[in-house]
Symmetry: C2
Subunit: 214 residues, 2 copies
Amino acid sequence: MKAGQTRQRILDTAAAWFRHEGLAFTSMADLAKFIGVKTSSLYYHFESKDSLIEETLRLGIELVHNEVRQAVESLGPGATHRERIRAAILAHLRTILGDNDYSSANIINYSHAPVNVRQKNREVRAAYGRYWASLLEAAQRDGAIAKDMDLSIARMLLIGALNWTVEWYSPKGKTPDEIADQCSRIFFDGVGLGAAPSKAKSAAPKAKSPRGSR
Amino acid sequence: MKAGQTRQRILDTAAAWFRHEGLAFTSMADLAKFIGVKTSSLYYHFESKDSLIEETLRLGIELVHNEVRQAVESLGPGATHRERIRAAILAHLRTILGDNDYSSANIINYSHAPVNVRQKNREVRAAYGRYWASLLEAAQRDGAIAKDMDLSIARMLLIGALNWTVEWYSPKGKTPDEIADQCSRIFFDGVGLGAAPSKAKSAAPKAKSPRGSR
DNA sequence: GTCTATAGATAGATAGAC
DNA sequence: GTCTATCTATCTATAGAC
């Protein structure tokens, strides 16, 4: 088999195993067995397990970055900021919750990767973060986001809400599109009604006294 | 040394290592060395590494659950739903970003834990989720959350935004209180102004054409 | 309760034949 | 490019002395 093909199979298999089993529970022997080669063959294509991890994680970021950018740009120049950010949210969610394993593998494993791997991934991650920052900054500049809103916090909270879906999303539950819709709505308008805060009537029915109920 | 003391030291050390190194990169030998005993001594106090993991993770959930519940209940019955949920957000963030290692260790490692460990933690996790659900349901019942808002999605997105802070929070940056403030504001009112959506003027200055810019 | 000693398994990685 | 064979390290866990 040609080098490029085998190399690609190793990457694809690694992404899938990293996504579903995690970095530590995926051994080189697991990958080799799944692919149908011997462990030593993997080292012809990759210098080490770390380098395999590094490339897999990098491809995951590049994939979601490309998907999000394309989704936003395909809206054309006439789109509103809300539409653009909504498209970014949707593309991000579809990518990390979809069949492609690379992006979800990155999200799930990045913080557990060896330091040298994280270091090599830092720039591609930062580039993706900057893209989101540019979306939010443009929206704030044009008044679609309140002037006194801290964009770095807002961005990290939003990305966090999206990334955490890999922990709870199930194909049997709400679809990525439904989640994206609601996330966009909350992000821009909140769960409230813009009405005056209502008093809590019997808000804590089971609690007899504050503190020490346990 | 008495059994209870050593046992507690093992748990505390494990929580710290699990938080900062991860489950897989924390060996029983690491813990023993740090504590100043031999590896075999750990097995007098814990049946296996898995059982140590299981107890550490369980304590993490119980801790944050207690902290959040106390924070909400200490507000008293006159508090609004916004105040109650804001207090829950703040307590959750303070706990997972603070000095105590148990809760952050849980958040960081739960999805990477062996299946039998996750299974044993399922109920305590579910109980904490139900508490949050009760807060949101009460708010929706009294009109503080829009009737057509799906509470399960809203809850998971909110908890996700909070939990993901362990990935990016730095003591040198924004404080947990500042993050909590902004999170509450976004959750209830969004980043927008409630105004009509504004058109994006020159929203994508660097993009010449949709698709294919790379 | 903690120790010494070690079993038994598995990990990442390399050498050299083909 | 892939193989067989193997090295070395490290891991979880146990047996039995003290």
